[in-house]
Protein backbone atom coordinates (compact mmCIF):
# COMPACT_ATOMS: atom_id res chain seq x y z
CA UNK A 1 0.00 0.00 0.00
CA UNK A 2 1.71 3.12 -1.22
CA UNK A 3 1.20 6.20 0.94
CA UNK A 4 2.33 8.69 -1.71
CA UNK A 5 -0.04 7.19 -4.29
CA UNK A 6 -2.86 7.41 -1.76
CA UNK A 7 -2.25 11.11 -1.07
CA UNK A 8 -1.93 11.98 -4.77
CA UNK A 9 -5.11 10.10 -5.74
CA UNK A 10 -7.02 11.55 -2.77
CA UNK A 11 -6.16 15.16 -3.66
CA UNK A 12 -6.91 14.50 -7.35
CA UNK A 13 -10.30 12.89 -6.65
CA UNK A 14 -11.46 15.40 -4.06
CA UNK A 15 -10.42 18.39 -6.18
CA UNK A 16 -12.27 17.00 -9.20
CA UNK A 17 -15.35 16.22 -7.09
CA UNK A 18 -15.33 19.73 -5.64
CA UNK A 19 -15.07 21.17 -9.15
CA UNK A 20 -17.95 18.96 -10.31
CA UNK A 21 -20.17 20.19 -7.48
CA UNK A 22 -19.27 23.89 -7.70
CA UNK A 23 -18.38 24.90 -11.26
CA UNK A 24 -20.83 27.29 -12.93
CA UNK A 25 -20.52 25.95 -16.46
CA UNK A 26 -22.35 22.66 -16.81
CA UNK A 27 -19.96 21.21 -19.38
CA UNK A 28 -16.94 21.86 -17.18
CA UNK A 29 -18.76 20.30 -14.23
CA UNK A 30 -19.54 17.18 -16.29
CA UNK A 31 -15.88 16.91 -17.33
CA UNK A 32 -14.74 17.20 -13.70
CA UNK A 33 -17.33 14.54 -12.81
CA UNK A 34 -15.65 12.13 -15.24
CA UNK A 35 -12.21 13.04 -13.84
CA UNK A 36 -13.43 12.40 -10.29
CA UNK A 37 -14.47 8.92 -11.37
CA UNK A 38 -11.03 8.29 -12.85
CA UNK A 39 -9.68 9.09 -9.38
CA UNK A 40 -12.19 6.81 -7.67
CA UNK A 41 -11.36 3.96 -10.05
CA UNK A 42 -7.66 4.38 -9.26
CA UNK A 43 -8.56 4.15 -5.57
CA UNK A 44 -10.24 0.83 -6.34
CA UNK A 45 -7.17 -0.38 -8.25
CA UNK A 46 -4.98 0.71 -5.33
CA UNK A 47 -7.17 -1.37 -3.03
CA UNK A 48 -6.78 -4.42 -5.27
CA UNK A 49 -10.37 -4.41 -6.50
CA UNK A 50 -9.75 -4.55 -10.25
CA UNK A 51 -13.20 -5.88 -11.15
CA UNK A 52 -15.23 -3.07 -9.57
CA UNK A 53 -12.62 -0.53 -10.68
CA UNK A 54 -13.06 -1.57 -14.30
CA UNK A 55 -16.85 -1.69 -13.88
CA UNK A 56 -16.69 1.87 -12.55
CA UNK A 57 -14.63 3.04 -15.53
CA UNK A 58 -16.93 1.35 -18.06
CA UNK A 59 -20.22 2.39 -16.48
CA UNK A 60 -19.47 5.86 -15.17
CA UNK A 61 -16.92 7.30 -17.57
CA UNK A 62 -18.17 5.31 -20.54
CA UNK A 63 -21.92 5.57 -20.09
CA UNK A 64 -23.09 7.91 -17.33
CA UNK A 65 -20.76 10.82 -18.16
CA UNK A 66 -21.71 10.61 -21.85
CA UNK A 67 -25.41 10.46 -20.91
CA UNK A 68 -25.01 13.56 -18.74
CA UNK A 69 -23.24 15.42 -21.55
CA UNK A 70 -26.08 14.49 -23.91
CA UNK A 71 -28.64 15.76 -21.41
CA UNK A 72 -26.75 19.02 -21.00
CA UNK A 73 -26.79 19.49 -24.77
CA UNK A 74 -30.50 18.63 -24.96
CA UNK A 75 -31.50 21.04 -22.20
CA UNK A 76 -29.33 23.96 -23.18
CA UNK A 77 -31.40 27.08 -22.96
CA UNK A 78 -31.07 28.52 -19.50
CA UNK A 79 -27.53 29.59 -18.72
CA UNK A 80 -26.08 31.93 -16.17
CA UNK A 81 -29.03 32.43 -13.84
CA UNK A 82 -27.29 33.15 -10.58
CA UNK A 83 -29.50 33.86 -7.62
CA UNK A 84 -28.01 34.37 -4.22
CA UNK A 85 -26.26 31.82 -2.08
CA UNK A 86 -27.84 29.27 0.20
CA UNK A 87 -25.95 29.62 3.48
CA UNK A 88 -28.16 27.20 5.40
CA UNK A 89 -27.24 24.48 2.89
CA UNK A 90 -23.51 24.88 3.46
CA UNK A 91 -24.03 24.92 7.24
CA UNK A 92 -25.98 21.64 7.05
CA UNK A 93 -23.32 20.08 4.79
CA UNK A 94 -20.51 21.13 7.15
CA UNK A 95 -22.44 19.81 10.16
CA UNK A 96 -22.95 16.49 8.42
CA UNK A 97 -19.25 16.29 7.54
CA UNK A 98 -18.42 17.05 11.16
CA UNK A 99 -20.71 14.29 12.39
CA UNK A 100 -19.21 11.79 9.93
CA UNK A 101 -15.64 12.70 10.90
CA UNK A 102 -16.49 12.57 14.58
CA UNK A 103 -17.99 9.10 14.30
CA UNK A 104 -15.07 7.84 12.19
CA UNK A 105 -12.46 9.21 14.58
CA UNK A 106 -14.32 7.87 17.61
CA UNK A 107 -14.41 4.32 16.27
CA UNK A 108 -11.81 1.99 17.72
CA UNK A 109 -9.81 -0.48 15.62
CA UNK A 110 -9.71 1.65 12.48
CA UNK A 111 -5.97 2.17 12.73
CA UNK A 112 -5.22 -1.14 11.07
CA UNK A 113 -2.72 -1.41 8.25
CA UNK A 114 -3.74 -3.41 5.18
CA UNK A 115 -2.74 -7.05 5.64
CA UNK A 116 -1.01 -8.90 2.88
CA UNK A 117 -3.45 -10.59 0.52
CA UNK A 118 -3.46 -12.94 -2.40
CA UNK A 119 -4.75 -11.44 -5.61
CA UNK A 120 -8.50 -11.73 -6.09
CA UNK A 121 -9.37 -12.89 -9.57
CA UNK A 122 -12.47 -11.96 -11.54
CA UNK A 123 -13.23 -15.68 -11.74
CA UNK A 124 -13.87 -15.81 -7.99
CA UNK A 125 -16.21 -12.81 -8.08
CA UNK A 126 -17.99 -14.31 -11.06
CA UNK A 127 -18.43 -17.61 -9.21
CA UNK A 128 -19.87 -15.76 -6.21
CA UNK A 129 -22.22 -13.82 -8.50
CA UNK A 130 -23.43 -17.00 -10.18
CA UNK A 131 -23.89 -19.08 -7.03
CA UNK A 132 -24.51 -17.12 -3.82
CA UNK A 133 -25.85 -13.99 -5.47
CA UNK A 134 -27.71 -15.41 -8.44
CA UNK A 135 -31.14 -14.15 -7.30
CA UNK A 136 -30.00 -10.57 -6.66
CA UNK A 137 -28.29 -10.72 -10.07
CA UNK A 138 -31.55 -11.70 -11.77
CA UNK A 139 -33.43 -8.97 -9.89
CA UNK A 140 -30.86 -6.37 -10.99
CA UNK A 141 -31.28 -7.54 -14.59
CA UNK A 142 -35.04 -7.09 -14.27
CA UNK A 143 -34.49 -3.65 -12.71
CA UNK A 144 -32.23 -2.58 -15.57
CA UNK A 145 -34.79 -3.72 -18.14
CA UNK A 146 -37.55 -1.84 -16.30
CA UNK A 147 -35.37 1.29 -16.08
CA UNK A 148 -34.56 1.09 -19.80
CA UNK A 149 -38.23 0.77 -20.78
CA UNK A 150 -39.22 3.45 -18.28
CA UNK A 151 -36.65 5.91 -19.62
CA UNK A 152 -37.84 5.24 -23.19
CA UNK A 153 -41.50 5.76 -22.26
CA UNK A 154 -40.70 8.96 -20.37
CA UNK A 155 -38.96 10.68 -23.26
CA UNK A 156 -41.19 9.35 -26.03
CA UNK A 157 -43.02 12.05 -27.97
CA UNK A 158 -46.75 11.96 -27.33
CA UNK A 159 -48.87 11.28 -30.38
CA UNK A 160 -51.67 13.72 -30.81
Amino acid sequence: MNSAAFVVIAIFTLAAALAAATLRKLMHAALSFAVAFVGLASFFFLLGAEFVGLALVFIYIGAVAVLIVFTILLTRRDVGKDRGFNWSGIVIALAMFGALTWSILKTQSLAIVAPHIRALTVKQIGAALMTTYVWPLQCVGLLLTAALIGALVLVMEEKR
Partner: protein
Protein backbone atom coordinates in the same frame (compact mmCIF):
# COMPACT_ATOMS: atom_id res chain seq x y z
CA UNK B 1 1.22 3.75 6.50
CA UNK B 2 -2.29 4.21 5.16
CA UNK B 3 -4.91 2.82 7.50
CA UNK B 4 -8.59 2.04 7.10
CA UNK B 5 -9.45 5.29 8.87
CA UNK B 6 -7.76 7.35 6.12
CA UNK B 7 -9.92 5.77 3.46
CA UNK B 8 -13.03 6.40 5.55
CA UNK B 9 -12.07 10.07 6.00
CA UNK B 10 -11.60 10.51 2.24
CA UNK B 11 -14.93 8.79 1.69
CA UNK B 12 -16.55 11.11 4.25
CA UNK B 13 -15.14 14.22 2.54
CA UNK B 14 -16.40 12.95 -0.82
CA UNK B 15 -19.85 12.32 0.66
CA UNK B 16 -19.90 15.82 2.19
CA UNK B 17 -18.95 17.37 -1.18
CA UNK B 18 -21.81 15.52 -2.85
CA UNK B 19 -24.20 16.50 -0.07
CA UNK B 20 -23.19 20.16 -0.33
CA UNK B 21 -23.75 19.97 -4.09
CA UNK B 22 -27.27 18.64 -3.56
CA UNK B 23 -28.03 21.28 -0.94
CA UNK B 24 -26.46 24.31 -2.66
CA UNK B 25 -26.95 23.98 -6.38
CA UNK B 26 -30.19 24.72 -8.20
CA UNK B 27 -29.48 22.91 -11.45
CA UNK B 28 -31.00 19.44 -11.65
CA UNK B 29 -28.10 17.98 -13.66
CA UNK B 30 -25.59 19.10 -11.03
CA UNK B 31 -27.84 17.66 -8.31
CA UNK B 32 -27.90 14.28 -10.10
CA UNK B 33 -24.09 14.33 -10.46
CA UNK B 34 -23.71 15.13 -6.75
CA UNK B 35 -26.01 12.22 -5.91
CA UNK B 36 -23.70 9.94 -7.88
CA UNK B 37 -20.71 11.29 -5.95
CA UNK B 38 -22.45 10.41 -2.65
CA UNK B 39 -23.26 6.88 -3.84
CA UNK B 40 -19.67 6.34 -4.85
CA UNK B 41 -18.33 7.67 -1.56
CA UNK B 42 -20.23 4.76 0.00
CA UNK B 43 -18.70 2.44 -2.61
CA UNK B 44 -15.21 3.62 -1.69
CA UNK B 45 -15.70 2.81 1.97
CA UNK B 46 -17.15 -0.63 1.08
CA UNK B 47 -14.12 -1.49 -1.07
CA UNK B 48 -11.81 -0.27 1.69
CA UNK B 49 -13.60 -2.52 4.20
CA UNK B 50 -13.24 -5.45 1.82
CA UNK B 51 -9.49 -4.84 1.48
CA UNK B 52 -8.83 -4.54 5.20
CA UNK B 53 -10.84 -7.60 6.27
CA UNK B 54 -9.02 -10.66 5.06
CA UNK B 55 -10.42 -14.19 5.14
CA UNK B 56 -8.35 -17.07 6.55
CA UNK B 57 -7.50 -18.12 2.99
CA UNK B 58 -5.69 -14.80 2.49
CA UNK B 59 -8.30 -13.34 0.15
CA UNK B 60 -10.02 -9.98 0.62
CA UNK B 61 -13.67 -10.18 1.59
CA UNK B 62 -15.17 -10.05 -1.88
CA UNK B 63 -18.78 -10.00 -0.72
CA UNK B 64 -18.31 -6.23 -0.34
CA UNK B 65 -17.11 -6.01 -3.95
CA UNK B 66 -20.19 -7.89 -5.16
CA UNK B 67 -22.28 -5.42 -3.16
CA UNK B 68 -20.45 -2.50 -4.82
CA UNK B 69 -21.19 -4.07 -8.20
CA UNK B 70 -24.91 -4.10 -7.38
CA UNK B 71 -24.80 -0.50 -6.14
CA UNK B 72 -23.13 0.61 -9.40
CA UNK B 73 -25.83 -1.18 -11.42
CA UNK B 74 -28.71 0.36 -9.46
CA UNK B 75 -27.07 3.79 -9.68
CA UNK B 76 -26.80 3.43 -13.45
CA UNK B 77 -30.52 2.63 -13.66
CA UNK B 78 -31.24 5.62 -11.44
CA UNK B 79 -29.24 7.94 -13.68
CA UNK B 80 -31.02 6.69 -16.81
CA UNK B 81 -34.49 7.29 -15.33
CA UNK B 82 -33.46 10.58 -13.69
CA UNK B 83 -32.07 12.04 -16.89
CA UNK B 84 -35.15 10.88 -18.82
CA UNK B 85 -37.37 12.68 -16.30
CA UNK B 86 -35.14 15.74 -16.66
CA UNK B 87 -35.49 15.76 -20.46
CA UNK B 88 -39.28 15.29 -20.20
CA UNK B 89 -39.45 18.11 -17.67
CA UNK B 90 -37.41 20.38 -19.90
CA UNK B 91 -39.78 19.70 -22.78
CA UNK B 92 -42.79 20.61 -20.67
CA UNK B 93 -41.39 23.59 -18.72
CA UNK B 94 -38.25 24.80 -20.53
CA UNK B 95 -36.23 24.82 -17.32
CA UNK B 96 -33.85 22.67 -15.29
CA UNK B 97 -33.80 24.95 -12.25
CA UNK B 98 -35.33 23.56 -9.07
CA UNK B 99 -36.57 27.01 -8.05
CA UNK B 100 -38.91 27.08 -11.06
CA UNK B 101 -40.43 23.70 -10.19
CA UNK B 102 -42.06 24.31 -6.83
CA UNK B 103 -45.73 23.45 -7.34
CA UNK B 104 -45.57 20.70 -4.71
CA UNK B 105 -44.03 23.05 -2.18
CA UNK B 106 -46.45 23.79 0.60
Amino acid sequence: MITLGDYLIVSGILFAIGFAGVMLRRNLIIILMSLELMLNAANLSLVAFSRFRVSPAGLPNYNAQVFVFFIITVAAAEVAVGLAILVALFRARQTTDVKDISELKF
